[in-house]
Structures are given as C-alpha cells and as structure tokens.
Symmetry: C2
Subunit: 344 residues, 2 copies
C-alpha cells in the first residue's frame, strides 16, 4: 500500500510500504478513508534531522473495517469507524480514570512497527477499545466535523475540562491554531461567559469568534498580557488554556492567569523545563493538562456533531489527496492552511 | 529594642533597632513572646552574600498586644495573639478565595521597613485581618503547638488540601523537615490511608510515624522512587506533597507520582525552572500548591491544638533566648535541631 513517510526537515514522501495484516486476535484492519495533518506532525517536519529510513507519520484517521481478529466484538467488516489518536484498551484502571495516554495496553501510532494514519490502511490493535463506530457514511457532509474528533477537538476539550471551565467562567485561550479554536469551542460548550482568544491570524480568530470567543487579542508577549489583564479587571483569567506548547506561550500563560488560577497545557511541549519559580509559588498557580483521553470524550462530542450543535469541521480549510500530502504539510507549516484533510 | 538581623552567609546578629510605633490606624503593636526559625530563613542563611547593612528576619511569632490604632476592633491591649507568617486584610476577594499570599492590602514581614518576627516587638499592619486572639497564656504548655500554626502546620496542611488528599488517599510526602512532618500530620487528619514519608533522619521520621506516616523511605533519588513505586503497586502515589523546594525533590516527586496525579509544592522553590516536559505531559501530571493561606486555616487547626487532637508542638526540639538566636540558626542549619523556638 501507499503511506506517508517523513525523512527529515521538510521532507515528506509517499511510498510503498507493506500491507498491514492482522497480528493479534484483538486487531482490526482499517482501510483509511480520511486522515488529518496534526500541528504536532509539524514539530517533526520543522525540526527533524535527515534520517536514512523514512518514519511513518499520522495519528488522526478514520476508515472502513476490512477484517477483524477472532476476539473483536464491537466492530465488523464494512463498519465505518473513527480512530482516536491513541490506541487503548479503554478498560484498564488508567482508562477508567480518563488517562488513556497511560493505558496499560495501548500506545501511539506510527511507532514500534505500527502504521501511521496518513496511509491507505492500518492495523488497529485493541480494536474494541480503540475504534468508535460511526453512524454516517464515509462521504457524509459531517465527516470533517467527525474527523475533528480524532484528536483536535478532544484536545481542546481536555484543556477546558482540566482547567475546570464551567458555567460563567472567564477563560483565556492561548493560540489560534486548530487546538486553540477547539479550546474556544469547548469552553463555550461548557458555559464560559468570557473567552479571550490570543491569536493574530484574522481568519482564524474570526472562526474563533464564531466558536464563542468574546474577545480577540492579536498582541503578543508582554503587550498581550497587558491587554488580557485590562480585559479582566486587572487580575487575569482564572482559567488559561495553553494550546501552543512553546516557552513563549507558557510565559504568556503565566502572565495572563489570575492568582490562584489554572494553566492547562494541551499543546505538546516543545521545551523540557518551564518557569515554576518563587513568583509562581507565591501566586498559587496550578499547571495541569496533558495528552487528552480522546476515546473518553468522543461519544459525548460525537452526539453534538451529529445533531449539528457543534461544527468543528469548519476548521478544515484544505483537502489533499494522499499523493499530495507533502503540499498539505507545506501549507500548514506556512500557515496557509489551518487544518488539512488527507484523502487516501 | 533588640532584634535579629542577617548580614550574609551564616552571619546572624542581634542588635538595637528602633522601637516600632503605630503608623496606620489599622496597626497594632505586639510585644513578641515567642518566635520561630523557619526552614526558609535558612535559604538566606546559606546563600546570601554579605551586605553592608543587616536585614531584619523572622516571620513566625506571637505575643501580647501593647497598643492599637484607632480602627482596630478585634484585639486590644493585653490580648495574647498569634501572628501568621503573612499580614493580610483577610477580607479582600483574594483572601476570600484563600489566596492570602495575594492579599490586596497585605504583605510579608521583615521587608519594606516592616519588623521581622525575631525581635522584641513588631508593628502589625492590618491587625484585624492578621492577628488571631488566643485563649491561652503566653507560657501555656500548648504554646509550642500554637506556634506551629503561624506557618509550618498550615503550610503542610496547604500541601494536603491543594493535592486533594481525602479519606482513603495514598500520599507520598517528600521531606522530613518540619514542613514535611506537618504535611504528614495534615494528610492523616484528612483521612489518608497510606502515607509514605521520604526522609532519612531517623528521629524525624520517627516523629513522622507518630504523626501518621505508615511507611518511611530513607532512600534518595532513583532508589527512593523505586521503593515508593514498589510500596504503591508499581504506579506511584496519586497525591505527592513536595515539602523541600529543591530541584532534586521535584524530580523525586515526578518519579513517585502516579499518572494523572498531583504534586503540591509547599517548600519555597530554590529553583527557577523545573521539568515540565513531554513525559510530564503524556502522564497528565498536575503541579499545584504554593504559599499557604495560614490565616484561613488557623481557626480550624487551633481548635484541634487546644483540645489536644493534634500536637504539632512536638516538632520543636530546641529553644533559645533571643540573644542566642545565631545558635538556633546554626543548629537548624546543621540539622541538629528540627525546629527552633526563640524567646525574646
């Protein structure tokens, strides 16, 4: 089959790879009908040194079940399924606690010999715990919004949930990428009254306003902090959703959070250490968040996608065929596209 | 009057300083009857460069009200009072939220011209919001336990509260200093079932066991992590109370905390940055804690001191006269004393 491999900085290729086969009795084979490019794929696209052998990539996808192992009960051949960005048993104690990133029998895509999502097919381990059967066809108009449930919307939702956003909350969202906009949508869904979106790309922040942002702050750094503080009575926002993952974004979060408030990080950190100094201590700030348990959140969010309450699919502004996936990476990296769908 | 000043590394002196006088109508003058040396006083004792002028020091004290400003309503001349380690109005929105470290009209002792606690007297701003009237005499046998309420016990309590320790919790406490032992006592008070104390000073960990520790781990670093994980079924403790404030202690906390768990920091951080990397992100760890709102916690804890339910005064193992305060610093610094009372 054909699949995407990354060879180094800016070097994405589509090549022939071995067809996946069933290995474990809990596996399913899924023919991929749509995949996405994730902002975190770009970390590797921007930073990786050249390697002799390409690495598989992609972790947001959906498709049609082609075959299942002997133990699989929840899906069968022909089912249309959504694949969350982590594969999990969804039954262990960690999964029951909503810690699917710590699943005792799960893991990530495109590592340890597993397929990536940006290809024609994938072996899905723990199919019963991982796959979510969809009540729509592979070309349904709702598919872009469904695809947002593989990773980006649950990730934004996780930021809002772990930061304890609730009815009436004042929230600051740092970043107008797809995760930031998902955090805006999620905070609005949870009843936040004031949602300040920090971002400087007008088309994106306009979508953020449609998703529920009440204020947009295009300034950056200390200027942004000053504006957010002015908007929040001088004290900052009690709930800060950090949706970027850079040191600069974390510093902005420290600047805009109210004393006693919470910063939830859902942008994959591109740093090792961050400031947790005397000032942070005296202000009783909490830092939380992490990798989202998408599998847990999908059923609830899917219901609202299906009934049209939420339309996260609006974030997709470019579709490319699998053979053109490199163009999709380039467009996202150059910020010409917000979120890219890939059609194998 | 006589008061303690610190001039640099290991250089503590008692000198004549101006007698405090009432300045604001909300002030009280307090004759100090007991003060403590705090572990955080030692940071300065260990690290400070020599200075031309000594700096006042001390923030844990009690005494007798000598005089009050025109606006003071809650205490009067002759009252025996406990002084928390921060002065606060105890009425602003931050104080109402339990964020006394962020009080809009409060601050710290021994800075900006204010007296330190280790002296014969002090001007207390915001007397109505700061002072807690005591129903015991200045030489009551309960005084050591009362003095623990000025800072160290509320600080340990804050660790347990912000880490959400509750009935049945499994807790790891890092550090067998007075804050760590206070955290043990507090976790036990809140109903923790398993309390693993990481510390290697036998006399201190023995007191920790009396305060409620169920296990003591004298190992350090990676060995300590391995032992705590073994004690907790391999996964670590969901609630970790970091009562030291060093990078090593924070790293140990990261090692012993269960995925999805909380590290509450109440040791004043002696570092600027700490590890908040991809691993911390994937594990969904929460870092919280900070400076304790002692004034909020004191009424509840004082009741249990007065009725004998808790005996935090057991931590005091050395008393010195004010003139010998330098010996008290030396004994604490050399770990010959756990916690020192100073008698002006």
């Amino acid at each position: 089959m054909r699949a995407t491999l990354i060879y180094g900085r800016g070097d994405v290729r589509v090549e022939d790879v071995p067809d996946p086969v069933l290995v474990e009795p809990g596996d399913a084979l899924v023919r991929v009908t749509r995949a996405c490019i994730c902002g975190s794929d770009l970390h590797r696209y921007r930073g990786m040194e050249p390697v002799a052998e390409g690495l598989r990539i992609g972790h947001e996808f959906m498709g049609v079940v082609e075959d299942t192992g002997a133990d699989v009960r929840s899906v069968r051949r022909g089912d249309v399924v959504l694949v969350p960005f982590l594969w999990t048993d969804n039954t262990c104690d960690f999964c029951r606690d909503g810690l699917h990133g710590s699943c005792r029998n799960g893991g990530r895509w495109a590592v340890n010999g597993l397929d990536g999502g940006q290809g024609e097919a994938a072996r899905v381990p723990q199919a019963d715990g991982t796959l979510v059967k969809l009540p729509v066809g592979v070309d349904d108009p709702l598919i872009p919004s469904v695809m947002a449930l593989s990773d980006v919307l649950p990730t934004g939702h996780h930021a809002a949930v772990t930061a304890a956003v609730a009815k009436g909350s004042t929230v600051a969202v740092i970043g107008d990428g797809a995760v930031g906009l998902s955090a805006v949508l999620s905070a609005a869904r949870l009843g936040a009254e004031r949602i300040v979106l920090l971002g400087r790309h007008r088309d994106r922040t306009d979508l953020g306003r449609r998703f529920g942002a009440t204020d947009v702050v295009p300034e950056r750094g200390e200027e942004a902090v000053a504006v957010v503080r002015e908007l929040t009575g001088g004290d900052g926002a009690p709930h800060v959703l950090e949706c970027v993952g850079t040191t600069a974004a974390f510093e902005t979060a420290l600047g805009v959070v109210r004393d006693g408030g919470t910063i939830s990080r859902v942008g994959v950190p591109q740093y090792t250490e961050a400031r947790l100094d005397f000032d942070v201590f005296m202000r009783n700030l909490t830092v939380t968040g992490g990798v989202a348990p998408a599998r847990r959140y999908i059923p609830e969010l899917l219901g609202e996608v299906l009934d049209g309450t939420i339309t996260p699919g609006e974030m997709f502004d470019l579709s490319v065929d699998l053979d053109d996936v490199a163009a999709g990476f380039r467009a996202m990296n150059d910020r010409e596209a917000l979120k890219v769908l890939v059609r194998p």
